[in-house]
């Protein structure tokens, strides 16, 4: 299990999540970033089930619309939900309220269970919207969108560098791991493993720092004066207006559902 997990996650290619082209790709990157941030804000601060479940439903619709690979998306979400499962097991016992059942003198309460479920729904809704709206763009587009949204320049540069070099370094890591495997190294719970991994990590650091020096020299050679320029002009078009208006009215509906007694 741990082996398969390791390999599926180290293959970062700096690219968007695999998906087929859809109308979501046509929407301006800034609009997608801002909309998903607002969605997270509204859903997380909701305190009843109606708005959060509606949010989750909307998240499913967006996942469907963005034509994400359903299997891969689910695998990512399930990893988080395994963690949520422990929360669902613990919270009923620690929250006071009406008794659901009793184990070893500990009482599980309905309120605790509902609270845990609410957290699960919220976390899933936010993640699915992030996957469908933001993760479908390439990481460098995301960087450019953030730069246009006035995120500090250095932070965006850092992100662009990271996106570029994650792939290079993960390849370096895999190369070194393969070399260790060729020498019959197997991960176990012992001192030898920890020492070898420590050496691997130290070597990875040294190689990467040397590589960073070469990169920076090569870039200076070609006249890099410390910054990238944003050449892509992002324009708000009619589809962006339509999407933001629909999305924001939906968010206002969610906020409305949070106000008690509005529909009574």
């Amino acid at each position: 299990m741990s082996q398969s997990l390791e390999h599926s996650l180290t293959s970062w290619s700096g690219q968007a999540l695999k998906h087929q082209a859809s109308w979501i790709d046509d929407i301006d990157a800034r609009v997608r970033v801002v909309c998903s941030a607002l969605f997270a804000l509204v859903v997380v601060s909701s305190h009843s089930f109606a708005p959060t479940l509606l949010g989750l439903f909307c998240a499913f619709l967006l996942v469907k619309a963005s034509k994400l690979n359903i299997k891969r998306t689910l695998r990512r979400v399930v990893a988080m939900d395994l963690f949520m499962l422990t929360l669902i097991c613990i919270l009923p016992f620690t929250t006071p309220g009406d008794a659901m059942f009793t184990v070893f003198g500990l009482t599980a309460s309905w309120q605790g269970l509902l609270h845990a479920l609410l957290i699960t729904v919220k976390a899933n809704a936010v993640l699915l919207v992030l996957f469908s709206l933001v993760a479908t763009m390439s990481a460098s587009t995301l960087g450019h969108a953030l730069a246009h949204l006035k995120v500090p320049d250095k932070l965006v540069h850092l992100m662009l560098f990271m996106v570029r070099y994650l792939d290079v370094i993960s390849q370096e890591y895999k190369k070194m791991r393969r070399a260790m495997q060729a020498r019959a190294f197997v991960l176990r719970t012992n001192l030898h493993t920890w020492k070898s991994i420590g050496y691997l990590f130290g070597m990875l650091l040294i190689r990467s720092v040397e590589r960073a020096e070469r990169i920076s020299d090569a870039m200076k050679c070609r006249g890099f004066c410390g910054r990238y320029y944003l050449n892509d002009e992002m324009k708000i078009r009619s589809i962006d207006w339509i999407f933001s208006i629909v999305f924001i009215s939906f968010l206002i509906l969610l906020i409305g559902l949070n106000i008690d007694g509005l529909f009574k």
């Binding site: 299990m1 741990s2 082996q3 997990l5 390791e6 996650l9 180290t10 970062w12 941030a37 804000l41 997380v44 990512r76 988080m80 963690f83 929360l87 613990i90 919270l91 016992f93 620690t94 929250t95 006071p96 957290i119 699960t120 976390a123 993640l127 992030l130 933001v134 990481a139 500090p152 250095k154 932070l155 540069h157 850092l158 992100m159 662009l160 560098f161 990271m162 070099y165 994650l166 890591y173 991960l187 176990r188 719970t189 920890w194 991994i197 420590g198 050496y199 990590f201 130290g202 070597m203 650091l205 040294i206 990467s208 720092v209 960073a212 990169i215 920076s216 870039m219 410390g226 910054r227």
Partner: protein, 202 residues
């Protein structure tokens, strides 16, 4: 380690975000454009490190290595970890968007503390002494991180207190492992490229 969206109360979320923003601001002030390639590459190394899963009995743990990152980067650890966590949320779905501030603070602040505690130690001439300080840094950072995660949970409501109490003991194995791994890493860097530790930090 990663707290998900929806679990924490808003005062905790807001104070975490504000404190992280201050840390990121200080980090960005200390980092010039000349250092960008170096910081970017180092941050990527730590990103990769978090996918190295080591077996532990029947389960497995992943490395965090925020102590070593702090020793090398100092305050710059804040922006580096913020970007790394943001990429992890968006493309892998670890953690959440609104808790980004709290998560960054929980991982980056221990890194900065370790930077000040172990600054002298890892620059010691003897590789063994330096590596021991590296191990202290590696294990210490995990301990402080676990404490901070526990605090952010406990402050969010009575019902999380039990979960908060479980966080620190649950992190003891990874603390031990990280200590040994950091020891070996610092030892190797000291023998192979001693100028790196003294140079990479400014």
């Amino acid at each position: 380690m990663h707290i998900v969206d929806g679990a924490l109360s808003s005062p905790v979320l807001i104070s975490g975000a504000v404190l992280s923003a201050i840390g990121v601001f200080i980090g960005l002030k200390k980092m010039d454009y000349d250092h960008l390639p170096l910081v970017g590459v180092l941050a990527s190394v730590f990103f990769i490190a978090s996918y190295i899963h080591l077996p532990l009995g029947f389960s497995s743990v992943h490395l965090i290595m925020n102590g070593l990152l702090g020793i090398i980067l100092g305050w710059v650890a804040f922006p580096a970890l913020l970007v790394a966590l943001l990429l992890q949320v968006i493309f892998f779905g670890f953690g959440g968007l609104l808790v980004l501030g709290v998560n960054t603070l929980n991982i980056a602040l221990p890194a900065v503390l370790i930077y000040y505690i172990c600054y002298k130690g890892v620059r010691h001439e003897s590789p063994k002494v330096a590596a021991t300080w590296g191990a202290v840094g590696g294990a210490g950072a995990i301990f402080i991180t676990a404490l901070m995660v526990a605090f952010s949970l406990a402050l969010s409501g009575e019902s999380f207190v039990l979960a908060a109490k479980a966080v620190v003991p649950a992190h003891i194995p990874i603390m031990v492992i990280e200590g040994f791994v950091s020891y070996a890493a610092v030892y190797l860097i000291h023998t192979v490229k001693p100028e790196f530790i003294s140079k990479g930090s400014n």
